[in-house]
C-alpha cells in the first residue's frame, strides 16, 4: 500500500515536472516589459526612451544611451521585471535610451559598420540630445555594441560624449590563438565572400551555432539538465525561461558589417593597429577622450578578457577604470548576481560622472 502511494506521488511529481518543462520549452516569456516609447526611427532601427520613474529634479542631467549587439535583441538589458538593468537604472534616476537596430532585410545586406556608426548613431544621438535638452550624454556599448560605440567615440570625440562604458568589448584581435572565432574564420578555411554572396545577410542560426559551439556540451546539454534539476524552484524556472526566450530570438547580421567584422577585425586587427578606415576616415582610438569604464567578464568565452583589456591604455581618456567581474559574456549583466555586482558598480561609476 505504502509502495503504491510512493509510486503515485512519484508519477504525479514527474507529470508536474514534465508539464513545467514543456511550458518553458514551447512558450515565450514576457521580456522587455519596462514601459518605453519610440522617439526616433530610421529604416529598421528604433530609439526607445524609457519612461522615467524619478522626478525630473532628482534625475541625473546627463542621459544614458544603451547600444547592444547587432545579432541579438537588446531586450537582454530589460530581461524581466525585478531583474532588469534598465529598470534598475531608471530607478536610480537616469534618463535611459535604448538603440534597437532591428532586423535587417535583404535590402540591408550591404549595411556596414560605417553606416551604423556614421548614419544611425549620430542621428539617434541628435534626437536624444534634443529630447533630453542636454548637450552631453553617456553611452554604454555591449559586445558588438561596444565596437560601434568605440568607433563612434573615436570618430566623433567632440559630439558631447562624456562617459563611455564598454561591456565585454571585442576590440583587440591580436592574440589569435586565444580566440576560437579567429581560428574558425581564418582565411585558410572560411570563405567569407562566398558566404556573403550566397546568403546576403548572415542567418542568425549560423551566428548562434558559432556562439553555442564554443561550449557545445554546456549549451546543448548541461543547460537543459540544470533546468530539469530546478523544475521545483519557480524562480529558477522563470529565470531560465526568460533567458531562453532571449537566447532563441536570434537575428541575422547585415552581410557588409559581417565582412568587416571578419576581415578587418578578426583577421587583421585593424582597429588596434590604427589601420581601420570607416567611410574614408582613419579610426584613431587615441582621439577617444570620454571617461571610460571597461567591464570585463573573467570567464567570457565569446570575448576573452585579452580582447577588452588594452583599450583603457590606448585612449586619451584621463579617467579610465577596468572593472573585472566573475562571470560569463551575458551572465555579468543578466545573471543572478548582476544586481549585486555589475549594476551597482556601473551606477556608482556613472552617477558621480553624470551630474
Amino acid at each position: 500500500m505504502a509502495q503504491a502511494e510512493v509510486s503515485s506521488e512519484f508519477l504525479f511529481g514527474l507529470d508536474q515536472r514534465l508539464q513545467t518543462f514543456n511550458r518553458v520549452m514551447t512558450t515565450k516569456a514576457a521580456i522587455g516589459q519596462t514601459p518605453k516609447e519610440v522617439v526616433w526611427t530610421l529604416n529598421k532601427a528604433k530609439l526607445y526612451r524609457y519612461i522615467p520613474v524619478v522626478p525630473a529634479e532628482k534625475r541625473h542631467p546627463v542621459p544614458l544611451l544603451l547600444v547592444f549587439a547587432l545579432m541579438n535583441r537588446p531586450t537582454i538589458l530589460d530581461l524581466r521585471p525585478g531583474h532588469s538593468f534598465v529598470e534598475y537604472m531608471i530607478g536610480r534616476g537616469y534618463d535611459v535610451y535604448l538603440m534597437d537596430w532591428g532586423v535587417p532585410g535583404l535590402e540591408d545586406k550591404d549595411l556596414k559598420l560605417d553606416d551604423y556608426v556614421l548614419d544611425y548613431l549620430p542621428r539617434a544621438i541628435r534626437k536624444l540630445k534634443t529630447l533630453s535638452k542636454s548637450e552631453e550624454f553617456s553611452m554604454l556599448g555591449w559586445c558588438i555594441g561596444a565596437i560601434l560605440t568605440t568607433l563612434y567615440a573615436a570618430l566623433r570625440p567632440d559630439d558631447g560624449l562624456r562617459n563611455l562604458l564598454l561591456l565585454t568589448a571585442p576590440l583587440d584581435f591580436s592574440k589569435r590563438k586565444e580566440l576560437t572565432f579567429a581560428q574558425w574564420t581564418d582565411e585558410k578555411y572560411f570563405d567569407v565572400e562566398k558566404v556573403i554572396a550566397s546568403m546576403g545577410n548572415i542567418p542568425g542560426e549560423m551566428i548562434d551555432y558559432g556562439a553555442r559551439a564554443l561550449k557545445p556540451v554546456e549549451n546543448y546539454i548541461t543547460s537543459y539538465c540544470k533546468l530539469w534539476d530546478n523544475l521545483d524552484n519557480p524562480r529558477a524556472v522563470e529565470s531560465w525561461h526568460a533567458m531562453n526566450t532571449w537566447v532563441t530570438d536570434i537575428l541575422p547580421m547585415a552581410g557588409g558589417a559581417y565582412r568587416q567584422l571578419i576581415v578587418d577585425l578578426y583577421r587583421n586587427d585593424r582597429l588596434m593597429k590604427g589601420e581601420l578606415m570607416i567611410r574614408g576616415e582613419l579610426v584613431d582610438v587615441k582621439r577617444l577622450r570620454a571617461n571610460l569604464l571597461t567591464v570585463i567578464a573573467e570567464a567570457d568565452h565569446i570575448t576573452p578578457p585579452c580582447q577588452s583589456e588594452p583599450i583603457a591604455s590606448r585612449t586619451s581618456s584621463k579617467d579610465t577604470e577596468v572593472y573585472r567581474v566573475p562571470g560569463g559574456h551575458i551572465g555579468i549583466m543578466a545573471g543572478s548576481a548582476a544586481h549585486k555586482q555589475t549594476w551597482p558598480h556601473i551606477d556608482t561609476w556613472l552617477g558621480t560622472r553624470s551630474s
Binding site: 526611427t41 529604416n43 535583404l106 540591408d108 581560428q183 578555411y189 557545445p216 556540451v217 548541461t222 539538465c225
Partner: protein
Amino acid sequence: MPAENGSTKPADSFEAFRGMRDAYLDAMSKAMINAVNTEEYAQASGAMLNNALTLTAPFREVLDKSMVMALQQLSLPSRQEVAALAQRFANMEMRLDDIDAKLDRIVELSAVACPPTGRTVTEVKRPAETKTKAAHRGNTRKG
C-alpha cells in the same frame, strides 16, 4: 533515513545519479572545448560549409532565375527590385530626419530670437493660418 535523523531535507534517490552525470558532462565539456579549439575542427567546419554552399549554388541559381522569369511574366517586381526600392526609402528617411532636425533647430533659434510673449505673435500668426486654410479649401474644391 535523513528524515528520521531530524533533517528537513528528504532523501533524494537520484543524487548519486546526478553526481555521476555532472562529472561525465564536465569531462565531456572539457574534451569538446579542446576539440573545437583545434585547427582540424576549423578546417572541417570550413570545408563542410564550403561544400554545402558549392552544392546548393546551382539549385539556388536555377530557382532565382526561374523566380525572376515568373515574376516578370506576372508583371510583378523581383526581390532585388523591392530591395532597391526599400534602400531608396531608407535614404529618403535619412534626409527627412535631417530636415526634421534642421526645422527643430530653426524653431529653437527663432524662439530664442523672438520669445513668444504676449499678443504680437498671436496677431501675426492667426491671419496667416486662416489664409493657408482658405487656400487649401479652395484647392480642394478645384480638385
